[in-house]
Structures are given as structure tokens and as C-alpha cells.
Amino acid sequence: MTAWATLRRALPMAWRSLIRQPARASLGILGVAAVGALLLDMLLLSEGLIVSMRDLLARTGYDVRVTATEDLPRNGPRLRDVQATLSAIARLPQVRGALAVRFADAAVALPHDATLDASLEGVTGNAPHPWHVLRGRDVREPGEAVINESIATGSGAGPGAALMLRADCGVGTEALPPARLQIVGVAEFPFALTNENTIGATLGTVMAACGADGADQADVILVTSADDADAAVAAIKAVRSDLGAATNEQVLGRIQRTGFTYFQQISSVLTTITVSFALLLIAVLLTVSVNQRLGEIAALRALGFSRGRVVADVLCESALIVAMGGVLSLPIGAALATVLDRILKRMPGIPAELHFFVFQPTALTLHMALLAATAVLAALYPMHIVARLPIAATLRDQVAE
């Protein structure tokens, strides 16, 4: 008899065996569902941040980022002589567009002497702005600004209103005079943190708000390559070897090295633990079940069932428990990922649009492969018991009992 024919005959038997012991089957299936859900989440977490960050970087349309050093934007010194640098980069044939961005903190004045902390982004260049206008229009002139929904809600202001703010540009300790900005639109900022108040304006506006502090400086130049990011990086380095230019993938590599490694390590450890739990759970359930049925199994062997057939019964039973538990683990895992994502996003410094758990087909494939391997490995010991079962001695022992 072929292995396939053996498995085909064993499957209905295994199914009935599970139905016969609903408590045991339910325990196994729910156990696998629980650890399967955790396993799925760990697999989603292991690559989720990277996938989400890659998506976020790509969504803005820039594929090269230029900073003063190899540090990530806002983590190192600012670019100096930014207008000249921007022009030099924008002129390169490998570059389609370039945009200098300067970040600053600001306190927005509210009625009754109250203030609202905000993040200010000033931009200049020939590439699209790194925000998406939802209402009103984009900034065109110095003195104009777009605000995000959070600040619109917090200040009650909208397009057409004015905004008074006092910038903190991180240079010097001198108090800067208040700046008056005309709100022209409400926009979405992909890299804004959760509940962060963000204002977008021209670089000139931000420089004016910052006064003499850090004039002609920017934190990053965002570049859209003509068609090849690597070629654009090479061209930028050829003209300005003192700057740090990196493609999105290189930026991701830096982020992965500095921050995301912890999540990958944690997810690897938890993946190993959850798979081990699943393995132990199923192995124990099957071993107990087999030990309870030794007489029946010996009788089947005496009636002519081959060793392979009774082993296949155990394997199929394991496969059914894991398959049903695995299917159940998907919605549980998805729900759990949503909850965990919300909790983790409360960490400081995490962009609201960044997700820790991102669904990927490869994670699902790996999830299924790991569960399938678990089903086989968990069945090994009980299969060994069944395969090595001495028929005559077992029948004798069962009668003696």
C-alpha cells in the first residue's frame, strides 16, 4: 500500500478519534490556536516594523536621503549651506527633485495664555512636499502654513485662520520672538507621531521663526532619483563626499541596526518558546491518547493493520489538531496583533503611521510551515510508541489489567 493510500485511510479514523474525545480534541485545538496566534504575531513583529517603515519611506516618494553625517535625520548635526547644497544636488542628472527639510519645535499660542507644543517642518526645493493636503491648499509663500488634524482640533483653527507660535530651534538659549503664520490648509504628515501637533511651512518661514539660529541649515535633503536611487547616491557622493547620502534600503538598514534589532530578537525568542509550547502540548495530548488506546491499537495490529497504518493514524490525528488550531489561530492572531500594535505605538517617538505588526504572505507561509513541522515533530514520540508496540505483550497486559 502506498503512503498516500495509507494516509487516506488513516485520516477518517483520526477524525473520528478526535470526535470521540471532544474534550481532549478541544483542548488541543484551542491550545494550538493560542500558541499559533502568538506565533503568527511574533512572525509579523519580526519584520513588521521594517516593512511598515519601508512603506512609509516609499509613500512620500523620496528614495534618497541626504544628511550631514551617517546619522539618521534629527539624530546628528544639521546640513550647513543648505541652499547651495540643495542646488548642487538638484542639478545632478541622476536627480529628479530635491527638498531640504528643517525641523524645529514650537509652542503654538492659544487663547487665555495657553500653548500647544508642536513640531515645525520647513521645506524648500523642487520636489513635492512631504505631506498630503486634506483640506484647503498647500503652502506657496513664506508666512503660510499647513497644520495637521491634531493641531486643527487642539487649537480650533483651520484654513484662513492665523497661528501665533514661538519656535525653539535647538540652537542657543535666547528666547525667539513670536511668529505669525497664515493657515492655508490641513494636511497629513506621514512621519507625525501619534497625537503630535505638526505644522508645515516653507524653509524660509522656519528660518524666520528661528531668527539667526541656524540660518541656512536643514536636517535632511529628501531626493527623488531620476530612475535609480543607487546611481543618485553615487552622484551625490561624487559631488559632496562629506555628506551622508543613503537610499531608503540603506536607511532601513541603519534603522534596523540601531532600533529594530531588539524587536527581531524578542520575536525570535518568543517564536521559539511558542513553538516549543505547541510541540509539548500536542505531544503530551497524543501520548496520553495513545497510551489510553494501547489495547485497541494492539488489537488492530493483531487483525492485520500494518505498523505504517497505525503510525499514520497518530500522524493524521496530530495533523488534524494542528490544522484546525492553526486555522483558528489566524483570526485570533490578527485580533491580538491589532491590540498589541495599539499598545506598542504608545511608545514615544513612534510615527502614527508606523505599524509593528504588518501582514505579509511570507509570514503566513512560515507560520504554516512551522505549524506543519510542529505537527510532525509532536507526533514523533507517540508514533514511536505505536510503531514499537509489542502486540502480544500489550494484549496480555490489557487482559491482566
Partner: protein, 228 residues
């Protein structure tokens, strides 16, 4: 077909125990022919079940030679012995060992399915066998819904499923009351009368008295054989 079903020549079975080797069966020579009805009796631990297991090819002798249908059983692989049991040997156990999640009919179908019978052939044969043992109306009942005697009748039907040449029964009335035991004994008589060789291990005198040959065992040896 060869009239000789099983031939044991000076077979013995020694178990290696922690306290030393124990000879459960010693130097037994026996021939079982088509239509034979043999009862094996003796005190507990005298080797009756071990002899039965060797005749049924679930255990192999440690000495002597055992031939089934002229084939040397010790030369067969485990898979070949399984196939031999599936096609030519039926077993009836004291504790029935029916699969509790299957109905009576499904229990009887099981060995046929394993032997590769078609669904139609299996259903026909199962109906025949359940009628034969008087349980045609209980085909869809699970073992838990049957009495001890009914379970043993289903077990006999299951043992006969692939039309074996040899039916081995180990204390088939051991778990049954006297009256039910008599019904099972009558059923076994009928099975034997229909041509199946029968070897029964029993402590039950009335069952043993129905056999045409009786082997009395003591200390692993056949002490006496009574022919009727």
C-alpha cells in the same frame, strides 16, 4: 488449497526478564488443519495465550519452526506478517477491543477496508456478517450501546470480515455471563461448522467441551491432547 493451515514444530518462546529468561512455551508441536476446532486449556500462566499469539503470527517463536500455509513465519517481514494476519487470520479477544468511535458495521468494515475491498463489497459482506451473528438490526449502534455478548458477536464478525482460514479466540467468554457465553460458544460452533479452523484458549469447560481436540497445557508444554 492446502489442508494444513498452521504447523508448529517444537516451538518455544522464551522471554528475557530482568530476573532471567522465562520459558513461556516449550517444545510444542501442533498441526491445525482446515475445519479443526481446538481448545487450549490449562492453569493461568501456563503459556496458552503465548501459544495462541505465535499461531496467530503476532509473536514469533524463539525456537522451533512455525509454518502458516506452508510459509515459514519467522522468515517473513513485519509487513508480510501483518498482511498474512489481515487476509488469513481472525482474532477474537476477551475484552473485544472494538473501536468505540465506530458503529458495529464500521468496526466490521475496518479490516475489509484495510484489505482494499471495494465499498460495495464491504457493505455487502458487513451486512452478511452482522446478520450471521444476529446483529443485523444493530449495525448502526456503537459499542457503548451494545451488551457484552453483542460486542463479542460484533468482534467475531470483524474477525471473519476477510474470510480467514484460521480464527483464534483468547478467552472469548471470559467477560461474559454463563448464558451469554453459551450463545458465543454456539456462534463459534457455527463458524467452525462453516469451515473456519478454530483455536480457542479458554477456562470455560462447556466451551472447551465443544472442541474436537483439546490441548491441556502446563508449564509451557502440551501435557496432554484429547481428541473427540
Amino acid at each position: 488449497m492446502n489442508d494444513l493451515v498452521v504447523e508448529a514444530r517444537s516451538i518455544g518462546r522464551v522471554f528475557q526478564m530482568p530476573a532471567g529468561p522465562v520459558a513461556a512455551v516449550r517444545d510444542v508441536t501442533l498441526q491445525v488443519r482446515s475445519g479443526d476446532y481446538i481448545a487450549v486449556r490449562g492453569p493461568s500462566g501456563c503459556g496458552k495465550s503465548t501459544l495462541l499469539h505465535m499461531l496467530g503470527c503476532v509473536d514469533t517463536p524463539t525456537s522451533g519452526a512455525l509454518h502458516f500455509d506452508g510459509r515459514d513465519v519467522s522468515a517473513l517481514s513485519d509487513a508480510a506478517r501483518s498482511l498474512l494476519r489481515l487476509r488469513h487470520i481472525g482474532f477474537v479477544f476477551q475484552r473485544f477491543f472494538l473501536l468505540p468511535m465506530l458503529t458495529a458495521a464500521e468496526n466490521v468494515e475496518l479490516p475489509q477496508s484495510e484489505a482494499g475491498s471495494s465499498r460495495a463489497a464491504r457493505e455487502r459482506r458487513t451486512r452478511e456478517l452482522l446478520d450471521y451473528v444476529g446483529l443485523g438490526a444493530r449495525a448502526d449502534h456503537r459499542p457503548a450501546q451494545l451488551s457484552g455478548g453483542e460486542m463479542q458477536r460484533v468482534a467475531i464478525a470483524r474477525a471473519l470480515a476477510n474470510t480467514p482460514r484460521l480464527l483464534l479466540a483468547d478467552e472469548p467468554t471470559g467477560e461474559l455471563d454463563e448464558a451469554t457465553g453459551q450463545q458465543i460458544a454456539a456462534l463459534l460452533d457455527r463458524v467452525n461448522a462453516d469451515g473456519t479452523a478454530l483455536v480457542v484458549v479458554t477456562h470455560n469447560d462447556s466451551l472447551a467441551d465443544r472442541a474436537r481436540r483439546e490441548l491441556l497445557m502446563r508449564d509451557g508444554r502440551v501435557e496432554r491432547e484429547i481428541a473427540r
